[in-house]
């Protein structure tokens, strides 16, 4: 992307006024997307962005600048802006040497999406539109979206890291609206992988559309969700987001070093039910949060965060690891070259247990079965979270009965982790987008069906 000589020159300039660490991150990204809405192919979009972010660390201070100008003069200008924080600093690194880069190639790229005609991509959307509409006469509206991205990155720093990676991601999503006597209801389904167009060898788009349509139609006859504390059986897959939010964010080292996590100082302590083993793993085959290296050039790895209920480690990026005299766990990620990296999750999941989903349901006298969770939000300092249920049912006498209208769940992360009393073995991972401090990155969340003994359900009906 840029020559080894230039990498060396830019790093040397970045630390010319002092500082103990400098890094250059170059990104070249091409995206293409298509959307179908209201029965029409509404928009095809293509985009390119290319640029570099340069940071210099001096003591506790990070200077950062980015530029879309990858010429020598453009990069040196950015290096100069980034090092402005080092004006009064002494010492630092004197010589910068970079060796040959570690070159990584795409995890899976049998079919490069750029080689696929636009007509074919649109056809995927049309197939979803047809499938959703033919599922039920109640489906009044369908929107479907396709997107792919091809991202090349180069990272080099004064610690000797020099690596390039090729990251290809492909996604598809469908939203439906069903209309009936009770008004409108919505359904959504998506599939997204760190892989090329071969994703559609396995993903049957009609199946996604049918699931999204059925979800909306079922809710037409839904009752208002109850209000109050009830046991919850969380279906495998999308429920993983609960652990991403309720617990994962609190295990990010930036929150730990700033005292803004309930998990600070708890390593070695029992923080969850002994049934819980929580892992963050950037190496899981082609999942949405997977990559060869993180955005600081550190190879992805599998990190066990909670083992049999005991807190074993946090997640680390280079900056926080450096200050704590340990190595990064491969969790330094950024949205683009215009952003500073920070501690981010990759694929975060609970290991499966030995029960069956059926037994967890049949052992629940009165509760809620959540088949799909939407987004959520957490305050890492207090552990308080909320989540939207986008497909949920009442459990009565051990049986799934009535569908429920959308409502939020509310609770406290550390509290919920201790209330898990059963984990099944139907593990799966779902893709999502994680937002933190204004930056979005692709992540995976996973879990098997499990039961929580009590969570507050934010509905309007008496429990």
């Amino acid at each position: 992307m840029i020559s080894n000589d230039l990498v060396q020159k830019v790093l040397a300039s970045a630390v010319a006024r002092g500082g103990e660490f400098a890094e250059i991150f170059v990104e070249d990204k091409k995206t293409s997307s298509a959307s179908l809405d209201d029965g029409k192919v509404e928009e095809l979009s293509s985009g390119i962005s290319r640029g570099a972010g340069i940071r210099v660390v001096v003591g506790d201070t990070t200077g950062f600048a980015h530029t879309a100008d990858l010429s020598e003069s453009g990069l040196l200008k950015a290096a100069e802006a980034a090092r402005s924080v080092a004006l009064s600093a002494q010492g630092g690194i004197k010589a910068v040497q970079v060796g040959p880069p570690d070159i990584y190639s795409a995890r899976s790229l049998t079919i490069n999406p750029s080689q696929i005609g636009k007509r074919e991509k649109i056809h995927l959307l049309e197939r979803m539109d047809n499938a959703a509409r033919s599922t039920s006469g109640s489906i009044r509206q369908v929107s479907a979206g396709y997107g792919d991205s091809y991202r090349q990155i180069l990272v080099a720093n004064t610690d000797g890291v020099f690596a390039t990676d090729q990251q290809v991601r492909t996604r598809i999503a469908v939203s439906t609206i069903a209309f009936g006597d009770t008004g409108m209801q919505t359904g959504y389904e998506t599939a997204a992988y760190t892989m090329g167009y071969e994703m559609f060898d396995d993903v049957v788009v009609e199946e996604l559309a049918r699931m999204a349509a059925e979800r909306a139609v079922r809710k037409l006859s839904a009752r208002p969700a109850p209000s109050g504390i009830l046991p919850v059986v969380l279906k495998g897959g999308s429920g993983g987001i609960l652990f991403h939010e309720a617990c994962g964010h609190g295990l990010e080292a930036d929150h730990i070093v700033k005292d803004s996590s309930v998990y600070k100082g708890k390593i070695g302590e029992l923080v969850a039910s002994p049934l819980i083993t929580l892992v963050d793993d950037g190496t899981v085959n082609q999942q949405w949060g997977t990559a060869n290296i993180d955005d600081e050039g550190k190879p992805s790895q599998r990190n066990v965060l909670i083992e049999n209920g005991v807190l074993t480690d946090y997640m680390w990026d280079g900056l926080r690891a450096r200050k704590s005299h340990r190595s990064s766990s491969g969790n330094g990620r950024r949205q683009s070259y215009q952003h500073l990296p920070m501690v981010r999750m990759t694929n975060t999941y609970l290991l499966e247990g030995s029960e069956t989903p059926e037994s967890l349901i049949s052992n629940t006298d009165h509760g809620i079965y959540v088949a799909r969770l939407g987004g959520g939000q957490v305050n890492t300092a207090t552990g308080d979270f909320v989540f939207g249920m986008t497909e949920a049912y009442l459990i009565e006498n051990g049986q799934i009965t009535h569908p429920l209208r959308d409502a939020n769940l509310i609770g406290n992360g550390p509290d919920v982790l201790k209330k898990i009393d059963g984990v099944a073995s139907d593990f799966s991972i779902t893709p999502g987008t994680c937002g933190k401090d204004g930056q979005s990155v692709p992540v995976g969340c996973g879990q098997a069906t499990l039961r929580i003994t009590g969570v507050t359900i934010g509905g309007t009906a008496n429990g």
């Binding site: 095809l44 005292d259 509310i410």
Partner: protein
């Protein structure tokens, strides 16, 4: 920036006889500073620019963008936009806007003064804010971050159909996130101040807001479940109004996605509700001389005394609906096509202060913050269920803090259940102004 106009003209001039081209070019310069523990944690200064090109030909639309203004990238975007158009569905209502004679208002959204302040001065401001929060209350045990940021942005939109607009605006802001501790308990809170330049920032208010919001929930308990009257703080009301605004998009109506699709001229809210979108109000953070397609901004009354009066439209949705555009095209940046959205919603204020409103509530909750809005509010079905924190109200008096509960209703019902609006109008960095709102019959779900 004349340069942006020149680049835009060069792109648009390549329109073929049977083709319409729109070029949207944006440039911005940003400074962001974060301080922690009396030192600079991050300091970032950068410029960025990009272009988005829309092509309409044969009643089909295509789009492409580039995050740079290099000629080769612009060339790529134009040729891709043209190619993308070939694959879109033909739609007779597609087409770029044509000038409609509405005169743009002169709004002062750019403060040249912002460029006169040094980085050192900005760093000092952030450090001063951190210190002010630290000293504000003994229970403040740490300050997660204190920030200063500013942005100077210029964008030009030019179409081969005769629309031409340049937007210039500056923003300067400070914010702080504080952590308060009492015994084993921790709570957090944030405060901020926003202006067009440094001199407009209110450091004391940002500091005291962060401090008050972090400490006010200490000792909070989980309330029991019940149905009662809720008064929303202006800050929270802003979020609710922004959601209501999104349901009043003409595009959502045409695509069968609005709760209010068939309800024009009907009573959709209580009598006290008059809702206007007015991006020509310079106090609004969403104020803008033009909309994102280059039409002069104008005022639109959406709900008048509870009666649904109209929807918001951009060029495409107005043509398809057979009405005039309300100049409500918005865009997230050069990398996306315009959509329809409110920019400066204003719920007509009433005549009572928040404390007067509270004094008339027998049994209720003052909701000071809500969470899970994206997951808990469905603007299509209207289902509404969000996490909340606030203060109990008993016999017209503020009581103990409460947390970890949800409030639930539906958007349709809440609009009808608004019994009063306060006089405490507050312009907040959002598409809606804040004002206290009293709503009856909300389900509180707690212990």
């Amino acid at each position: 920036m004349d340069d942006l106009q020149i680049i835009a003209e060069k792109i648009v001039s390549q329109a073929k006889p049977d083709e319409q081209i729109e070029a949207f070019i944006a440039w911005d310069e940003e400074t962001s500073i974060r301080v922690y523990n009396r030192g600079i944690e991050n300091l970032s200064q950068s410029q960025s620019s990009g272009v988005g090109i829309r092509v309409v030909s044969d009643q089909r639309q295509g789009f492409a963008w580039a995050g740079t203004l290099e000629p080769s990238a612009i060339e790529f975007a134009l040729s891709e936009a043209r190619d993308n158009a070939k694959f879109a569905t033909q739609d007779e209502y597609l087409g770029l806007g044509i000038p409609d004679g509405v005169e743009p208002q002169n709004l002062d959204l750019w403060q040249e003064d912002l460029a006169n302040h040094s980085t050192e001065e900005k760093v000092s401001l952030a450090l001063e804010l951190e210190e002010a929060v630290r000293k504000s209350d003994k229970r403040i045990t740490s300050i997660e971050s204190a920030n200063y940021g500013d942005v100077r942005s210029i964008a030009s939109v030019l179409t081969s159909t005769g629309l031409s607009a340049t937007f210039k605006q500056t923003f300067s802001y400070i914010s702080a996130h504080a952590i308060a501790t009492q015994g084993q308990e921790t709570q957090t809170g944030g405060g901020y101040s926003v202006g067009r330049t440094l001199g407009e920032l209110d450091l004391q208010k940002a500091a005291s807001d962060a401090s008050i919001r972090a400490t006010r929930m200490l000792g909070a308990t989980k309330p029991s479940s019940s149905r009662l009257t809720v008064i929303f703080d202006p800050q929270v009301a802003t979020t609710l109004l922004a959601i209501i605004g999104s349901t009043l998009s003409g595009e959502a109506v045409l695509k069968g996605r609005s709760l209010f699709a068939d309800r024009l001229a009907e009573k959709v809210a209580s009598d006290v509700v008059t809702l206007v979108d007015d991006p020509t109000n310079p106090n609004a953070f969403g104020a803008s001389v033009y909309d994102a397609e280059g039409y002069a901004s104008r005022q639109t009354t959406l709900i008048s005394d509870g009666i649904l009066n109209g929807f918001l439209y951009d060029t495409y949705s107005s043509r398809r609906a057979g009405v005039n555009s309300t100049a409500s095209a918005t865009r997230g940046g050069f990398a996306s096509t315009p959509g329809v959205g409110a920019r400066a919603l204003l719920l007509s204020p009433g005549d009572k202060s928040q404390s007067e409103l509270i004094s008339s509530i027998e049994n209720g909750v003052l909701v000071q913050s809500i969470s899970g809005v994206h997951s808990g509010v469905n603007p299509i079905s209207g289902d509404f269920s969000v996490g909340a924190e606030g203060l109990q109200i008993r016999s017209g008096t503020i009581g103990a803090p409460i947390k970890e509960f949800t409030i639930a209703s539906s958007l349709q019902k809440m609009l009808q259940d608004i019994v009063a609006v306060g006089n405490d109008l507050e312009w907040i960095p959002s598409v809606a102004a804040g004002v206290s709102i009293v709503v009856e019959g909300i389900s509180v779900s707690g212990a």
